[in-house]
Symmetry: C2
Subunit: 243 residues, 2 copies
């Protein structure tokens, strides 16, 4: 059967990829992805065909990949992080319904929640919620409801897409919702460019996070009521009882 | 400064490890972990020292690692999956407070939410909550509150530690809580032994999940209201609007 890999590249450089992800790229004749990610790996594979589209070109990108696979070539669609977390895996499955049967294999990667957490210390050791602040495909009212629910149930929280030029104040709005149920002293963290040039991690409080700047390369962490600042890191205990 | 790596091995075999994780093991003189994980990698490094403790020996394991690092040896503490998700990273930071200053570096890995999701298709494409059903260190009332909150806010949900011999009916209890706000037809998934011998993935409904068997090698997925069964897989759309 025709073969299509959906590959999570992890954060940043090749050292963050798994052996399985490297093997899938090696086996593929065509690599399809967002321009910036394709450019990261193009030099490594001079003999392969690359197909890239700009941001928001996800549907077109999937169709190009599915057509190449139906034409008999082994194809890899690449996502940064993990392709199954706000990545391309779902769209590939959905759009594949309109094509010949294709063997789709999702190769998991290290998602930004995990790579960012590692830079901060250990913020997501206990139950956590992952929420995107992008309202492009999701009504803001639902995002707000999820933030409020996660805040009240004392989840650790990881925010993807915390801001963009169009959504400059969304992180502040999210913090205001969390401040309904969480103290301003709650430990929080900001990670930029995990695994890439300009990588940075900063531990602050939820009150300070409300005033902080974020962009599309930022991942945001908010601790639960037990999360501590330890040796400059952000650390959540394994539970609510001593072991 | 003394160096201690906390390394996520990802699921199962070496192909699922990142290059950074392999490099950290390579550099370490002492590797510390739960017996079963240490046995997975022992053969590869005949020249290294291995220190292992049985299940629930986490505190002792961390102390052995910290003492070895304070003795001047480069040490890696290994966890399966990602060391920052119900893993050893937090405990290492907490216990390190009692020792000489140590440079702790967490090397992220592919956590079971991501490796399990990849086997099912794409269940966690949209906002999701990760909840452990183990009440060893967390009161059951809080776990129940989180399940209820995540259910009502239409999060996709991933359950770690869904059952053990002592907690044989916890998955059923969790399903009953989710069924307060979710239809029994909600798409769900069960993954066993991701990346290891006996790997299996099964798509079912929340109603069927209530009757299903799980053990400590199982990861459980419950879709949101939009999650579909597609070509045998479990797929959550990118949002609630068409792009």
């Amino acid at each position: 059967m025709k073969k299509l890999y959906v590959v999570g590249l992890g954060p940043g450089d090749e050292q963050n990829m798994t052996g399985r992800a490297l093997a899938a790229l090696e086996e593929s004749e065509v690599i399809v992805g967002y321009t910036a990610y394709v450019d990261l790996i193009r030099a490594r594979y001079p003999e392969k065909a690359f197909l890239a589209t700009a941001m928001r070109g996800e549907v077109e990108r999937c169709r190009m990949a599915l057509e190449a696979a139906c034409g008999g070539r082994t194809v890899a669609v690449v996502s940064s992080g993990d392709a199954g977390v706000y990545g391309m895996a779902g769209l590939v499955y959905e759009l594949a319904q309109g094509y010949d049967p294709i063997d789709i294999e999702v190769v998991p990667g290290v998602t930004a929640a995990c790579s960012g957490a590692a830079l901060l210390g250990a913020p997501l050791i206990h139950d956590f919620a992952v929420i995107s602040l992008s309202d492009l495909l999701t009504p803001w009212e639902l995002i707000e409801r999820r933030l409020d629910a996660a805040g009240r149930a004392d989840f650790c929280i990881c925010l993807y897409n915390p801001a963009s030029r169009r959504r400059a104040d969304y992180l502040r709005r999210a913090c205001d919702i969390l401040l309904r149920s969480r103290a301003p002293e709650t430990v929080a963290g900001l990670v930029r460019n995990a695994g890439r040039a300009g990588e940075s991690a900063r531990v602050l409080t939820l009150g300070e996070l409300r005033e902080a700047q974020a962009d599309m390369f930022t991942t945001v962490f908010i601790g639960n009521s037990q999360t501590k600042k330890l040796s400059g890191g952000m650390v959540t205990p394994r539970g609510y009882r001593d072991a």
